[in-house]
Chain length 208, copies 2
């Protein structure tokens, strides 16, 4: 596969195409045109073709794409042809909701370990996942060779947790803590900040 620069927006859309294709597969659809695939995601057919063209030529001219094959191709492009274990750091309200979130498994992720600092939670089993002490973060994550972590701790604890995750060998972080985190450049991070999103919405709402 070619090693080239692919826009972040293309990567995001691949996820959306994949999700749509999985729905279609469930509904028994075998072939889909780029027009239809585009329409379901509200982009142009040309965009779909361009996004996919970064990785190869998957369509059948005049026919469209095989839903099954395109699912396999996109899963392989995204690295989702295996299940990824994920460490969850912080089992508060949001963390608990994520432990309950059925979407992870559907999309190739499995929270395999969770950590908290609350003595009432440590050692308990939530959704089949044992809650371990923060002090075990480095040891367990290294031992289990986990590469992805989700941070759902309060803002005040987030930087220290991020530093420890980096030391533990984590390479990708999904951060729900409302704080920018200072991490090495080779670590990938995405921050989902619900309050900031709402505040931006209100700004545009009040400004018309």
């Amino acid at each position: 596969m070619k090693k080239l620069y692919v826009p972040a927006e293309t990567v995001k859309r691949l996820s959306l195409y994949l999700r749509n294709l999985r729905y279609l597969a469930k509904e028994g659809v075998e072939i889909i045109s780029s027009d239809k695939l585009a329409q379901d995601i509200y982009v142009s057919p040309a965009q779909v073709r361009k996004d996919l063209s970064y990785f190869g030529d998957f369509g059948i001219r005049g026919v469209g794409y095989s839903v099954k094959l395109l699912i396999k191709e996109i899963q392989s492009i995204l690295g989702l042809n295996k299940e990824w274990p994920v460490a969850l750091i912080g089992v508060g309200r949001l963390g608990s909701a994520l432990l309950n979130y059925p979407g992870f498994k559907e999309f190739g992720f499995r929270i395999s370990i969770a950590f908290d600092s609350d003595l009432k939670k440590i050692g308990r089993i939530y959704q089949g996942i044992k809650i371990e002490d923060f002090s075990e973060i480095e040891r367990i994550i290294k031992k289990e060779n986990i590469k992805i972590a989700i941070i759902t701790v309060p803002a005040s604890a987030a930087q220290e947790i991020a530093d420890r995750l980096v030391r533990a060998g984590i390479e990708a972080i999904l951060n729900f803590s409302p704080r920018y985190l200072n991490i090495p450049e080779n670590i990938n991070i995405k921050t989902v900040d619900i309050a900031t999103e709402l505040e931006s919405l209100v700004y545009y709402l009040t400004r018309g």
Copy 2:
């Protein structure tokens, strides 16, 4: 206040400055330099000054910013100098977690009404909020003049819900449903798609 184009990233950073300033206020800090404000958010001091300069001149030369005054100014810029009622559509696992989320109130939002289609939930009180039937969305949201909604329904129901929210007069939507939603241009929408964020992370993780 000047009416001008302000970059979306500036609006997001205003939220982050605000959050940081609130922490500082709690800690009793009265004056902050743009250097320190910048450092806490991991941007440059020039960026802080530029972001704020869109809206006015809030600093005291050679001294810095008054924490209290800057909080007031940014709240006013963002439209957060009042509490915003929010409608929550879908009280599943994620919806329940959001009902529990203490951050909303802290940041000027209050989920004032929630809707679900599950007969076992309708009429019940969660976290002090009565769960209403989906069929009441238009009537109640119009009556209570709510402008902001959070969608946490499954993807299959999201577009229909969005259409109904638009008819009900909603002007800003925070969408947690893993789907692009087709809505009129004058409605502001932000989509938070946890699985897509994770999939993007894995893409970069596997591609180095």
